[in-house]
C-alpha cells in the first residue's frame, strides 16, 4: 500500500542522480520521482477512441489514486459556478447551489488544511485559510506585470500545511515536491489524510488492494448487494457483499463499472434509464506559454524551492458577456531555480540568438550559458471551464477487454469553438503579461491550425460529468445527494456527478460533496430509508 513515509516508496528528497534516467518521464508520465503509479497509458489496460476523436485518460493504480501526485490547487466553486445556465444559457444548472456545499467546504478546509487569503471576491469564496507563503522572485515579477496589465494576482490556494493543524500531521518543510508524496503528510492525499488516520484511530476499515472492480452486483429488487472484482495478483474473481455501495473510482472508471453492471433488469447498465451514464464527459481546458526574463539572467542562487506549486495565481477576472467565449479560466504561474532533471540544459545556447553570444559551441562557454539562463525562465498556464456536451462521452467498447477480461472504455470527445476561443484569449493574456514584465515569450504563439494551443481533452486530468446530478431522473443519473435515481443504496462520490466543471480544480468540490453524501447516508440509515 503506497505510503510516502515508507522508505521503499519514498521519492521525496531524492536527488536526480539517484534515478538512472535522472527523472525522465520514460516510465512514469510525470517523471521518475512523481508518485503516480500509472499514467495516460497503462500496460494491459487499454482504452479506445471513436471516429478519430481525442481523449487521454490518466489513471493511478494505488491507494489514494490520483490524490498522490496532484497539484494541490484547491479552489472552491463560487455561487455562479453552480448556475452557469442562468448566466449564459448554455448547458445545465446544478440542482444545488453554493449555499448547500459551503458548510462542507468549511469542514474540508478545517480537516485537511489549505492556505490562501480572504479576498471577498464574489465568485472566489473565502474559506478557513492557513497563511500563504511569500512570493518567489519570478512571482514578484508576475504580480507587478499583472497589475500593470490590470489583471488581478493574489496568493494561491493550495492544500499544503504552512502551519500545524493537528498533532498527527507535520508542517511543510518547503521542498517543492508535493507531487512526490509527503513523508510528513503536510499536503493532502487521500491515503495520508483520510485512510491512514482512520486506521490509526482504530476504526474498522478493510482495504482491498490490487482489486479491479468489474461490476456492482444487484438483487431481484434492483438493490445493490455488493461488488465483484478481479484480484490482480491471483487473477481470480471475488465478490464483496455490502449494504451500501459508494463508488469513487474516478468519473470514467465509475461510468465503466456501472455500464458493465448489466442484468436483465438493467440491460443498459446499472441505473442508466436516462441513458446518460458516460455522457457529458468534460475536462478543464489548458494552454501554456513560457518566457524568459532578461532581468533574471545570471541570478544569485539561493534556496527558493518553496511549496509544491505556485505561491501566486490569478482567478478569472473578466465578464464573459463582453467576450466571444462563455466561460472563464484562471492563471497558474511557474518558474524559478528548480532542481535540475532530465532535459535540463537542452538547447540552452539557442537562447543566445536573441540575447547575445554564440549559438552552439562547446567548452567552458556552455557552463556560462547554463548559469546565465538558470532560473530566468517562467511560464503561465491557463486552466478554463469548458461547456459540457451530450456528444462528448465514454461508453463500453463493443469488442475490446483489458487483461482482466473487463470490457474497456471507448471515448468520443471534441472541443467546441467555445473552448478554442477561450484558448486564443489565454494566449493573448500570456503575451500581455509577458510584455508588461519585459519578458521574451519562447516558441511560437499557436494559431488556429493548432486550436490555439488547446491541449487534448483528458490532459488536465479534471474529467468529470459522466454520472451527472439532477432532480429529473430522465436528465440525470444521480440526485442532489449523489444517490442513483434508480438504485437507492448506490452512491457516486467522485467527479462523475459534476454538472459543470468550473475553471477551478475539482478536488475540493469532490471532497465537500463526498462529505455531504456521507452525512446523507447516515441520515438515511438512521431513518431506515435505505
Amino acid at each position: 500500500m503506497f505510503d510516502p513515509t515508507n522508505d521503499a516508496h519514498r521519492t521525496q528528497l531524492r536527488w536526480p542522480w539517484e534515478s538512472p534516467r535522472r527523472g525522465a518521464s520514460t516510465v512514469r508520465a510525470f517523471g521518475d520521482f512523481d508518485s503516480a503509479y500509472g499514467g495516460w497509458e497503462i500496460d494491459g489496460e487499454p482504452y479506445t477512441r471513436k471516429n478519430g476523436t481525442e481523449f487521454d485518460w490518466f489513471r493511478s493504480r494505488m491507494v489514494g489514486g490520483r490524490t498522490n501526485h496532484w497539484g494541490r490547487i484547491s479552489l472552491r466553486f463560487g455561487p455562479r459556478d453552480f448556475k452557469r445556465k442562468d448566466i449564459d444559457g448554455l448547458g445545465s444548472n446544478w440542482p444545488i447551489g453554493y449555499e448547500d456545499v459551503a458548510p462542507y467546504y468549511d469542514k474540508v478546509d478545517k480537516l485537511i488544511g489549505i492556505f490562501g487569503t480572504k479576498e471577498n471576491f464574489p465568485n472566489e469564496p473565502n474559506g478557513y485559510f492557513l497563511p500563504p507563503p511569500k512570493p518567489r522572485l519570478h512571482e514578484l515579477y508576475y504580480i507587478d506585470a499583472a497589475r500593470k496589465a490590470k489583471i488581478p494576482a493574489i496568493p494561491s490556494r493550495l492544500s499544503i500545511l504552512t502551519k500545524k493543524i493537528n498533532n498527527e500531521r507535520g508542517v511543510c518543510f518547503y521542498c517543492r515536491q508535493c507531487s512526490r508524496g509527503c513523508m510528513v503528510h503536510a499536503d493532502f492525499s487521500a491515503g495520508t489524510c483520510l485512510i491512514f488516520p482512520t486506521q490509526k484511530a482504530g476504526k474498522s476499515i478493510k482495504i482491498f488492494t490490487n482489486a479491479m472492480v468489474r461490476e456492482v452486483i444487484t438483487n431481484d429488487e434492483g438493490k445493490a448487494t455488493g461488488v465483484s472484482y478481479i484480484n490482480k495478483q491471483d487473477r481470480k474473481e471475488y465478490s464483496i457483499r455490502a449494504k451500501i455501495v459508494v463508488l469513487a473510482a474516478s468519473a470514467c472508471s465509475t461510468a465503466r463499472i456501472l455500464l458493465n453492471s448489466k442484468s436483465s433488469r438493467f440491460s443498459n447498465g446499472l441505473g442508466n434509464g436516462s441513458g446518460l451514464i458516460g455522457k457529458y464527459l468534460h475536462d478543464s481546458t489548458g494552454a501554456s506559454r513560457s518566457a524568459i526574463v532578461p532581468a533574471m539572467f545570471n541570478r544569485k542562487t539561493y534556496n527558493e524551492d518553496g511549496v509544491g506549486g505556485m505561491h501566486v495565481y490569478t482567478p478569472w477576472w473578466l465578464d464573459n458577456k463582453k467576450l466571444d467565449f462563455p466561460r472563464g479560466y484562471h492563471l497558474e504561474v511557474w518558474g524559478g531555480m528548480g532542481m535540475p532533471s532530465y532535459g535540463f540544459g537542452f538547447n540552452v545556447s539557442d537562447l543566445n540568438e536573441q540575447f547575445g553570444g554564440t549559438v552552439g559551441g562547446y567548452g567552458t562557454k556552455l557552463r556560462e550559458d547554463v548559469k546565465k539562463y538558470y532560473g530566468a525562465v517562467m511560464g503561465i498556464s491557463g486552466r478554463g471551464e469548458s461547456v459540457p456536451q451530450l456528444d462528448n462521452y465514454c461508453e463500453i467498447d463493443p469488442e475490446l477487454v483489458d487483461e482482466y477480461g473487463i470490457p474497456v472504455l471507448r471515448f468520443h470527445y471534441k472541443w467546441t469553438d467555445y473552448e478554442r476561443a477561450q484558448a486564443k484569449h489565454m494566449h493573448n493574456t500570456f503575451e500581455q503579461i509577458f510584455e508588461a514584465m519585459g519578458a521574451q515569450p519562447l516558441g511560437e504563439k499557436p494559431g488556429k491550425d493548432q486550436d490555439y494551443g488547446l491541449l487534448a481533452p483528458g490532459r488536465i486530468i479534471h474529467e468529470v460529468g459522466t454520472t451527472r446530478m439532477g432532480d429529473d431522473p430522465t436528465k440525470s443519473v444521480v440526485n442532489r445527494y449523489q444517490q442513483l435515481h434508480e438504485v437507492d443504496n448506490l452512491f457516486v462520490v467522485d467527479g462523475g456527478p459534476f454538472v459543470s466543471q468550473a475553471d477551478k480544480n475539482p478536488t475540493w468540490t469532490i471532497l465537500a460533496l463526498a462529505w455531504r453524501t456521507s452525512d446523507y447516508i447516515i441520515d438515511q440509515l438512521n431513518k431506515q430509508n435505505i
Binding site: T5, D7, R10, T11, L13, W15, P16, W17, E18, P20, R21, A24, T26, V27, D32, K110, G127, Y128, P131, K134, P135, R136, L137, I143, P155, T162, K163, K164, N166, G170, V171, F173, C175, R176, M183, V184, H185, K300, T301, E304, D305, M337, G338, P340, Y342, G343, F344, G345, F346, N347, V348, T358, V359, G360, G361, Y362, G363, L366, R367, K371
Partner: protein
C-alpha cells in the same frame, strides 16, 4: 505523523540507507536530513526489474563509448573548480538513456559512424584515433548551427544531441548541481526572497500582501479560526 517522528522512523527504518539527522535548532524546531547512501529510490517491483534489464544490456561497443567519452569532454572539459563530463559519469548516463529512450539509438549510433567517416575522409583515421587538434577541426565544423554548411547538417544534428545529453547528464550529478548553485532539496523554512536579491532587482514586498503571509515563528502553533474564518493563532 509529525515530521520529527517520521524522520526518526526513517532513521530507524533505514540504517542501510545511511540517513543522518543533525541537531535541530530549537527555536525553529527543524531538523536536517542528509541522504548519504541511497538504496533504491522508491521503485515498484516492476520498475526495478525494468531498470535492471536496461542496465544488463550493453548498447554501445567499447570503441563507440570511447568516442562518446571524447565528445563529452570536448563539450564539458574540466575547469579549475569542477570536473569534466566523463568525471561526472556522463558516458555511462548516455549509454543508459539510449536504452531508456530507444529513439536516441539510431541518431547516436549513426552519428558516431558519420563522425568516423568525416575523419576518415580528412585524416584517414577514426575519430577517436585522431589527434586532439584533428578532432577539434572536425567538431568546429559541426558545433555552430548558424555557421555550418548545409552538407554538414547531419553532423550538426548529432553534435547538438550529444551536447544536450552531456549538459543534462552533467548538471543532474552532484558535481553539476554544486556548480549550478542549486541549494534546495532539503528541509528548510522558506521565508521569502533574500533582501539583497530584492534590492538587486529593485523589488520589494507589498506590506499589505506580506502582512497576510505565514509568520514562521508561529508555524508550530495549531491553527484556530474565529467564526469569520480569521486565523487567531
Amino acid at each position: 505523523m509529525d515530521r520529527r517522528e517520521s524522520l526518526k522512523s526513517l532513521l530507524v527504518g533505514s540504517v542501510a540507507g545511511g540517513l543522518v539527522i543533525n541537531g535541530c535548532t530549537p527555536a525553529e524546531k527543524q531538523e536536517e536530513v542528509i541522504v548519504k547512501k541511497p538504496v533504491g529510490y522508491g521503485r515498484t517491483a516492476k520498475e526495478k526489474l525494468h531498470d535492471e534489464r536496461l542496465r544488463m544490456e550493453q548498447l554501445f561497443a567499447e570503441g563507440e563509448l570511447e568516442t562518446i567519452a571524447i565528445l563529452c569532454d570536448i563539450i564539458l572539459p574540466a575547469t579549475a573548480d569542477f570536473g569534466s563530463a566523463t568525471e561526472a559519469g556522463v558516458p555511462e548516463f548516455i549509454e543508459f538513456m539510449a536504452k531508456d529512450i530507444p529513439r536516441h539509438q539510431v541518431p547516436l549510433k549513426g552519428g558516431l559512424m558519420w563522425l568516423d567517416s568525416q575523419s576518415n575522409e580528412r585524416f584517414n583515421l577514426d575519430f577517436r584515433s585522431c589527434s586532439p587538434e584533428q578532432q577539434l577541426m572536425v567538431i568546429d565544423e559541426i558545433a555552430y548551427p548558424d555557421k555550418a554548411p548545409d552538407h554538414l547538417k547531419h553532423g550538426v544534428v548529432f553534435f547538438s544531441l550529444m551536447r544536450n545529453l552531456t549538459l543534462t547528464g552533467y548538471y543532474t550529478t552532484e558535481m553539476g548541481i554544486k556548480e549550478l548553485g542549486y541549494v534546495g532539496n532539503q528541509p528548510n523554512v522558506w521565508d521569502g526572497v533574500p533582501q539583497e536579491v530584492l534590492d538587486e532587482h529593485n523589488l520589494s514586498y507589498d506590506p499589505e500582501w506580506i502582512s497576510r503571509c505565514v509568520d514562521q515563528s508561529k508555524r508550530m502553533d495549531i491553527a484556530q479560526w474565529d467564526e469569520e474564518g480569521n486565523l487567531i493563532t
